[in-house]
Symmetry: C3
Subunit: 455 residues, 3 copies
């Protein structure tokens, strides 16, 4: 296949225009404001719960957006020569996903009278889908072009939404913060996709697959914003009141513990006791992932701390010992280590959800049982039966992720999608006009007392 | 004119002290807490709408502050040698504008009993004014000193507030997110000002008028925060309830479309299919500008997507093809390309507002018509008549901006204001103590096992 | 004392694990959800004030977290070779403090029935404690290792919480934004600690104790986020309604004035009229500190502006003239100048609180007096008497801070805590794996049209 500049010039804009044209058309035909957003359907007082709910959720909603665009975008800026692509393609892919997920999720959840009815909660759900897509992006970061990523988002959004619909709506599984639907799904989708796209000659770009001092500081912007707002992420879809309070509190405690365990383990496993920025940037966040399912439940503050500690430990050990094996043994090249931050902690989070669900009693939850486990409260299921459903949901997610990711990998091998060559991975210059690193003049002139055209 | 260090030493501090002294004096004489802020005037329950409203608006309020200081400040950090000035002068100018606009807008809007009565909404309005001033700053970035900028803010705040008062209060024009009052006004004020300050010898500083790798990443912090919080910006002054929901939703959809069209067009118009960071940093935001007037109206989700797509396209093409013409033909040097991000999308947004106003019906808005178009709901105006007023508002804004900007240009030519010489534009060192670029020691010492005074 | 790599390898992980183990154990035994967080104790409607309050405070709550982790973390990134440690140790220390303060403050404030009852407000209070600890960190930045900092946090949290309990609960002192409890305490604790740890040979590391261009831009991220969200910080614990409105408004006005005075003074005191980034990054924030006590009171808008102006002036002059004296005369090495940003403005803020309290009348506050000065409203104290208590609170704080900081200094001299040697202060490499500064290849390859393993 002869790769020509002309060909490269056209594939990305054509895909953008095609996708935008198609979603615009679908928006025109199907998408309408819902009763919270349409002035003719709105009445204060009549919808007093609804209207308050929006305002109570608005801060969380903006926090989640910050996580998606600033958090994921800058977390991936750690590579020395891939900052434009990391933050730029995050921007592109998340943006497209917001539109596309509005449609796909709208068809599944709010399609009636021939129309999809959208409100601000449509955007929260679309953000969650974008989170999964960006997790998968982390696995293939630097080895895929923007056209490939748009196609990945196209496919993954459909599978994410279907899997989420099966779990939450058909199986009655609880997964507020998405340990299963977002983290497990996004990670294994990306890992299977990366397996199919395995590059045996990737060491040709190895010198670019590390960070520099400043790129690590940029990445910490991503880490810290993800850390701060993770409680909003996990609690965005939970019941108002105690549910949202408890979820936020559990998530914070879990994150503090995963941070402390990451610092401990990072120093412990290094040869000379020095901390590794890769661990701090990533494994410290595993506490948010691991309580994605259980944080709305009666996890207890101690349970949150214990879960976070475990997740930080597993994640740090994963970066140190398992990521190399994943590549050498399983031929999975996982650029950001999403297996350590989202994969294993996501599975642990699903299992933690099974455990805490299994322990649920009417006494522990009181009237709140209706919000957290409506099917148990209504007598349709026992706690044990709900726990089995939770476990089943995890397996369904793994099947969707692995089959979907493999499928996605073959799709992304379509030759016209313009992947970077092996020797040009992790390199912005393939897709971006890149300015120089150094300022124009190295020696700075003193302020010259020269005549000025202005005065 | 002989420029002396002594002279430079004094002009900025004197202006700061003079302006701060004057506003402090005016604060002492005129400014009082309003009924929401004064403990003796406040009663829970009696003001239940008022008190809730503050809390419902507080997140938007902080989002708008984030846009002004982080968003605008870092967006302009893209220049290689002008980061301190971009973020520092944004800080200075926005800060002064917050005080000064509180006074000017207070005299126009909340002056009674001999006092200006301020509450938190005074700060939202002042932030909007600061937004316009910073847009103008973008046009003259790198070519003006801080004393000039303070004087520009002094004048522009008065004209902004007067124009806004004429449009919103006298003409009954609707412009929640400020397509006209903020973006069109700020852009053309800055462009006319830049025209008057035209520097024929600016190519002497041309080598500094580009970015470096890291400065572009810093600028993306600004872009992304502006993008995330733009829905809060447009919806901050709209009616609570469906109005705020709809405005946020429309703004998001418009921004997603402008981002996709920017990526498409940026790759399409470049010689070799590579993306240009200038386009991504700026044109992707045009979707927020273009729905500044119409996003609170029944724009429909499709309308928002279509408007955003158009704005992103026009803006990207503007950066590629029109900015050079603006300089060569019209002698307007527009450093940040505010004509592309705020000028043209602002005018398009005003026209979109005319169109959507003209289409307004009682059926489409129901009871909500009272909030969006009170004069139509009350029977004082027809939709067509309101549309004509909207159009008239756009022309009033253009007159204020062009006359005011020209006036401002001549004001800023006052010789004692210490502009940078042609060869020292876009250079922090003129106004800042600048540290070196490189670390003290290039080769890092290994940890020496030396004795320590502490142990 | 022979310092060995093996020893260094173990002290930090062991402390992390020990501390995390101990707090986890205490969490298991003592910490339970409170009535807002436990589903069995929650009833909508019955707790209508409580439940609304959470949502009204949630944005402030997240703003405060942003200040602690992004604000403080990045503000301290200004050092050229200490970015990883600044943001990383902030992350570590604040994280541990959140857990530990939850326990200590819980025992003091919400211990009943044998349990500590935690809700989201526990995290706000813990964040405030983390703020004080990070202020102290600023004084010793670059001269202490992470194990020392953890021990400092252990001690300081206990003393902070005790001092806060004595002031707010026993003495009935008002200090919403913590001019005394947070800023004065944190600053003088750190300064006394730094005095005890005085290093006579610190000039061995002097070449690393300055900034570089990009590190100053990173630091501005910290400054601006602190500036934006300071109104949320000061108003987070005030009464809902007019109290929170007034506090936010006063804080904003004070911050605008301190910013303007910092720009004025910075240019005035420099030799050649150029601005100094150290002043802008720090002294501009002094307006938030100085109204920490008085911003919930009837300070008046003019009072806020005047206070902010004074604070910015004192702080800038402190950086220029007093910091060198502090080191040469008093042997206090204050890396971040916390004496200028938190110490002096904190004391001024305490005195301002005394003054405004002394002026409090029933007329000025109306029914709101109950919220701001309940003991005056109930007739238990006169305004003068309350003012004396405020003054006494300041002295109590100074005693706690100075004795505690000195104690802390001797504790941190324990030899096994692994401080950096004099010649390796302000150097990340002592504790972190540090990547290179420059990219792998300096000359960038053009895109090679080579065969690709993927296609």
């Amino acid at each position: 296949m002869a790769r020509t500049p002309r060909h490269r010039r056209l594939i990305l804009p054509l895909l953008c225009l095609l996708f935008q044209g198609a979603t615009a058309l679908l928006f025109a035909v199907f998408v309408r404001y819902n009763h919270e957003t349409d002035p003719a359907l709105w009445h204060w007082g009549n919808h007093s719960n609804v209207d308050n709910e929006f305002y109570f959720r608005y801060p969380s909603f903006q926090d989640v957006h910050t996580m998606i665009f600033i958090g994921f975008g800058f977390l991936m800026v750690f590579l020395q020569r891939y900052g434009f692509s990391s933050v730029g393609f995050t921007f592109l892919v998340a943006t497209f996903t917001l539109q596309w997920a509005t449609l796909v999720q709208g068809f599944l959840h709010s399609f009636h009278g021939g129309h999809i009815h959208v409100g601000v909660e449509s955007l929260i759900n679309a953000d969650f889908c974008a989170g999964a897509v960006l997790i998968s992006f982390g696995a293939v970061l630097g080895k895929t072009g923007p056209a490939q990523l748009l196609l990945m988002a196209l496919l993954e959004t459909v599978l994410f939404s279907t899997n989420e619909f099966i779990l939450l709506s058909l199986l009655g599984v609880r997964d507020a913060g998405g340990s299963m639907t977002i983290h497990t799904f996004g990670a294994y989708f990306g890992l299977f996709l990366s397996r199919v796209l395995y590059r045996s000659q990737l060491e040709k770009s190895r010198q670019r697959q590390s960070s520099v001092y400043h790129s690590d500081l940029f990445a910490m912007i991503g880490t810290i914003f993800l850390w701060i707002f993770w409680p909003s992420f996990n609690s965005a879809p939970t019941g108002l009141g105690d549910g949202q309070h408890r979820t936020a509190l559990n998530t914070y405690y879990s994150l503090t513990a995963s941070t402390l365990s990451t610092f401990a383990l990072s120093a412990l496993v290094s040869g000379d006791g020095r901390l590794d920025m890769v661990h701090i940037q990533n494994a410290a966040l595993a506490g948010g992932v691991v309580v994605g399912t259980a944080s709305e439940m009666m996890l207890t503050p101690f349970g949150a701390v214990a879960a976070g500690f475990l997740a930080g430990t597993v994640s740090t050990l994963g970066y140190k010992f398992f990521t190399p094996v994943l590549e050498s043994r399983f031929k999975v090249q996982d650029t950001c280590g999403v297996h350590n931050l989202h994969g294993m902690p996501g599975l642990l989070g699903a299992l933690l959800g099974v455990l805490v669900t299994w322990l649920a009693t009417h006494e522990a939850y009181g009237d709140g049982l209706q919000n957290v486990f409506p099917l148990i409260a209504n007598g349709q299921r026992s706690a044990t039966s709900q726990a089995v459903y939770q476990l089943f949901g995890m397996f369904v997610t793994l099947v969707f992720a692995s089959v979907g990711g493999s499928l996605g990998g073959f799709l992304l091998k379509l030759p016209f999608l313009d992947p970077p060559p092996d020797s040009q991975c992790f390199e912005d210059q393939v897709y971006w006009e890149v300015p120089g690193e150094q300022e124009a003049e190295v020696q700075r002139p003193l302020r010259a007392e020269e005549p000025d055209t202005q005065a």
